[in-house]
């Protein structure tokens, strides 16, 4: 496998490539001259770095990720948020960009509410979330959908091109959480369901090339079907 853009599916234990000068990237390890896959996914070699892009697997939280989660519990100083990772996230009342009365946390957000937050720290104690940025906060209404978090990069696209296309064509606001949870808000439920369909179109074809053309064609067909 030598081409920069060629990607093949690899399974754990499989030798992806061999070469003294190759470096083992994420999802791989080096054994002698061999780079071995440690996960099921697409192998990618770029500038001598060989890594595996997972096709599956639960969300691995990273600092800086924007995530969408649900309030599971309220403690004396914050909210415990389920973000679908192996650990829950925690939003301290200090990380909310407005004054919060310590005795009235549930007036700001109650159990069952959905929110968009940013991971600002990960350590042994857990995942710390913050709402102190534009676009973050409690979700009042809309549609929440869940996708395989490994498909998120495809849904966002190069420099956000794919998600922008979907937003424009469906006339919806869409916030994509890195944890695979997506918030869609449109003026009509039909638009929101249309955006949901478009996102699933992408996730079902996430590793073919020329996906942008495919989806542009699909949007054109959908528009034709819907015009009387």
């Amino acid at each position: 496998m030598t081409e920069k853009n060629e990607r093949k599916i690899v399974i754990p234990g499989e030798i992806i490539s061999s070469g003294n000068d190759l470096l083992p990237g994420e999802g791989t390890e080096k054994n002698g001259e061999n780079i071995i896959a440690l996960k099921y996914g697409l192998a990618e070699e770029m500038n001598k770095l060989v890594k595996v892009i997972p096709l599956s697997g639960v969300y691995q939280p990273r600092r800086g990720n924007v995530v969408i989660g649900k309030v599971e519990n309220i403690t004396f100083n914050g909210w415990v948020i389920n973000i679908g990772a192996a650990d829950n996230g925690f939003l301290s009342l200090m990380e909310v960009p407005r004054f919060v009365n310590k005795d009235a946390l549930d007036e700001v957000m109650s159990i069952g509410d959905m929110m968009v937050g940013k991971i600002w720290n990960i350590n042994k104690r857990g995942i710390d979330l913050s709402l102190k940025s534009r676009g973050l906060g409690k979700i009042e209404e809309g549609l929440i959908i869940e996708v395989n978090p490994n498909k998120v990069p495809r849904i966002i696209g190069k420099e956000g091109s794919m998600i922008k296309l979907i937003k424009d064509e469906t006339d919806c606001n869409i916030t994509v959480g890195q944890n695979g949870v997506i918030w869609i808000k449109g003026n009509k439920i039909e638009d929101e369901l249309f955006a949901k369909k478009a996102i699933h179109f992408v996730t079902e074809r996430s590793f073919i090339s020329g996906l942008t053309d495919e989806i542009t064609k699909w949007f054109a067909e959908q528009k034709k079907e819907n015009t009387p």
Partner: protein, 234 residues
Amino acid sequence: MVTKTFKRPDGRKVDEMRKITAKVGIVPNADGSAMFSFGDTIAVAAVYGPKMMHPQHSQNAEKGTLRCQYNMLSFSVTDRIRPGPSRRSMEISKITEWALEPVVMLKDFPTQVVDVHINILQANASTRCAGINAAALALAHAGVPMKNLVSSVSIGKLDKQLVVDLIKEEEDWEEGEGATDMPFTFTPDGQLTHVQLDGKITPKQLKEAVELARKATAEIYEIQKKALKEIGGK
């Protein structure tokens, strides 16, 4: 010694396995899933995790936990099995965990747990082997970090004859020295992760059995690999 003239109840050659099918992604809700069958023996496995482990005091701070549960459906065998765990299913659950653990990178998910649920839909012997094969596929399909897959097969000795992939009729063999049942699980590079033995066999023949198991598991590995490479993605 492998005799070419030995007659097996279903007409197979002594070193011939039944028809194997393997498929991933059969339980949409699961993080990873697979079915694996040796002829009439069908196993399905579904994986959930890595995820938080409850209760907290069961968590292991140094490495993750692999938790396997093996169960047979009540109607998978001729005599109905009362639903619920049995001592046998508990033992096989543990054996399955031990067969898989050497290749699962538990240190990658400390305090967390990966649950593997294996159910036998139809049984004609070699159920634990089918279960282990399905579980290995489901773990990989779920994106759990692993050093390798594992592949499992049952080797039998019927009187003095070694055979590969036992069916029930062979498990119940009564002639001569009766049946010796030996399930093995190997990684593709020859590491043994599981072995059991019930019966009577000389060390010399046991070494031959190991060779037969190596060959058979190598074939099984290729089929497992194909099943993972075939899908179009979740």
